[in-house]
């Protein structure tokens, strides 16, 4: 079924050597039901079709269903086993899918009382994820802004935020981006005083009236200029990618550009508009058939858009002309 890393069918077309570390692509969005799992399943499928070795990880331990979208009906072993220390080797949880080059780590069978791993286990998990034998590791994140979700989102620099063109989704997406940025920032700051101000700013109703990262930057600079410099560096390196899912109109397409502008002007960091996917009745059919849309209807509009987003992601991996990713 799926190939082992660095061998035969796992090679991108052209057969050049594979990257040593996988490219981590966590996919979040804050709100449930915006199509994160659908996007992950199809981007993973598209990248696998392009010849990359791909692992799709279901990071939603409380509502796992990536396995269903990828045609794996009853996963044997899952991330929950790793969280509960029943399995220490993440590689042993890799499951083949019906799609060549694409493997899955499911998230079924979790402990509802303590679904998320504690901090230490999370650190181990993130380290193990980076060691997975693949070119791309896509992580389907759960809804909300739980610290675990934020940590998964920051596992790489290529976090994708899925937004549907609805007020509720847009609102939650900003909350998600804000939470991700502040969490990254707090980890980057060294000074105890500055970290305390960052923590204060994370409370939207804070008494100092800090509303945006740019407000916070002013405070941090006043406290410590070196920390101010680190702040700016963190801001520059935070570059989430936006996918608008379920567009029906030209205005919906423009939403991605508008979100990008607001991230820049209001929050002070650059978001990239990675692409959009149109609303398509075929999506429901693909979920019902428990296969990615790209496998069921590769020529429909939504599949074309998804393939385009995947191509963009792969392009950002600085793919060599022969199709081999380099790092």
């Amino acid at each position: 079924m799926s190939s082992s890393f660095g061998a035969g069918p796992g090679l991108p077309r052209g057969g050049a050597p594979l990257a040593r570390q996988p490219r981590m692509v966590p996919v979040g969005g804050g709100k449930g039901g915006v199509g994160k799992t659908f996007v992950v399943a199809n981007l993973a499928s598209a990248l696998a079709r392009m010849g990359y070795s791909v692992v799709a990880v279901d990071g939603d331990l409380e509502a796992a269903n990536l396995h269903t979208c990828l045609g794996v009906s009853q996963p044997v072993g899952s991330l929950a086993d790793y969280v509960a220390h029943r399995e220490e080797d993440l590689g042993k949880l890799l499951l083949d899918t019906p799609i060549p080059n694409l493997r899955l780590i499911a998230a079924t069978g979790g402990n509802l009382a303590t679904p998320q791993p504690g901090h230490a286990r999370r650190v181990q998990l993130l380290r193990e994820l980076r060691r997975l034998p693949a070119d791309f590791v896509l992580i389907d994140l759960g809804a909300g802004t739980h610290p675990a979700v934020m940590d998964y989102f920051m596992v790489g620099d290529d976090g994708v935020v899925v937004i549907s063109p609805e007020p509720t989704s847009v609102e939650n997406a900003y909350a998600f981006l804000r939470a991700a940025f502040y969490r990254r920032l707090r980890l980057s700051m060294v000074s105890h005083d500055v970290r305390r101000v960052v923590t204060l700013a994370m409370d939207e109703s804070n008494e100092r009236g800090i509303r945006t990262p740019l407000d916070l930057l002013r405070e941090v600079r006043a406290l410590d200029s070196a920390e101010g410099h680190r702040f700016v560096e963190t801001m520059r390196s935070f570059r989430p990618r936006v996918v608008i899912n379920g567009v029906r109109t030209g205005k919906d397409v423009q939403l991605g550009f508008s979100v990008r502008s607001i991230c820049r002007k209001y929050f002070g960091f650059d978001a990239e508009y990675l692409g959009y996917v149109n609303f398509d009745d075929g999506v429901r059919r693909s979920v019902r058939s428990r296969r990615p849309l790209l496998e069921v209807a590769p020529r429909c509009d939504a599949s074309v858009y998804l393939a385009r987003v995947a191509k963009k992601l792969a392009g950002e991996a600085r793919v060599a002309p022969q199709g081999a990713p380099t790092r």
Binding site: P165, E166, P167, V170, E171, Y174, L214, V232, M235, R236, V247, T249, G250, K251, V253, Q254, L255, F257, S258, V259, S261, I262, R264, K265, Y266, G268, F269, D270, Y273, L274, G275, Y276, N278, C300, D301, V304, Y305, R308, V309, K311, K312
Partner: protein, 211 residues
């Protein structure tokens, strides 16, 4: 990242210093929509006072950059402030165009989604026409306004409802106009599309001209 108060007019409109007049205008229209009080993208994070302040900067920036002479003077002042920078000026007539034109709806669309590149080859069929339209952020009514073609026929073109379209000569005209409006090579598109149309309708009777 600079706060808004420190951004120059190009940064406010998020365009390059050598942006053409059309690009400046498109950026302005997008910014105006983004920072409108009812904007889907902004309403949940921006207070009315935030939006108003940003809108004011956007209006000022556009007023300066849309007019050739004021843009030249502004660029000169930027160069004086940044001796190392060499902003490229667009041709004067390009900037002047913005002042003179009453932009047709096609021009109000966003830039095509070039960041993702064109989709790979293949026939220019109905779905591909639709995708090209979406890529410019245009609605069917926008295309109808520019082409003067009934939006119902435009929708039939996209959906390839060949039997419901009028006679061949009209369809070819519609396709040519549609393609031009969404920035495609009209001749190429018409050839592709009519090949599919002919294959589908070969042997069937013709319908009358649109009323």
């Amino acid at each position: 990242m600079k706060p808004l108060s420190e951004q120059d007019h190009y940064e406010v409109l998020e365009v390059a210093r050598d942006a053409s007049g059309k690009t400046v205008e498109r950026a302005y229209r997008l910014a105006r929509a983004t920072y409108d009080d009812d904007s889907l993208a902004g309403y949940s994070v921006l207070r009315d006072t935030d939006s108003a302040a940003i809108r004011e900067r956007i209006e000022t920036a556009f007023r300066v950059l849309a007019e050739a002479e004021s843009r030249r003077a502004y660029d000169a002042s930027l160069r004086a402030d940044e001796p190392d920078a060499e902003p490229a000026l667009p041709p004067e007539d390009q900037v002047q165009t913005v002042l003179d034109m009453e932009a047709p709806p096609a021009e109000t669309g966003i830039e095509p989604f070039e960041e993702l590149g064109e989709e790979p080859g293949g026939d220019f069929d109905g779905p591909r026409l639709r995708r090209s339209r979406m890529r410019r952020g245009l609605e069917l009514d926008d295309v109808a306004r520019v082409t003067k073609v009934n939006p119902t026929y435009l929708r039939f073109l996209e959906e390839e409802r060949f039997e419901e379209l009028p006679a061949r000569v009209y369809v070819r005209g519609f396709v040519t106009l549609y393609a031009g409006c969404v920035g495609l090579e009209a001749k190429l598109v018409a050839e592709d599309y009519m090949r599919r149309f002919d294959a589908q309708r070969s042997g069937s009777g013709r319908r009358g001209a649109p009323s």
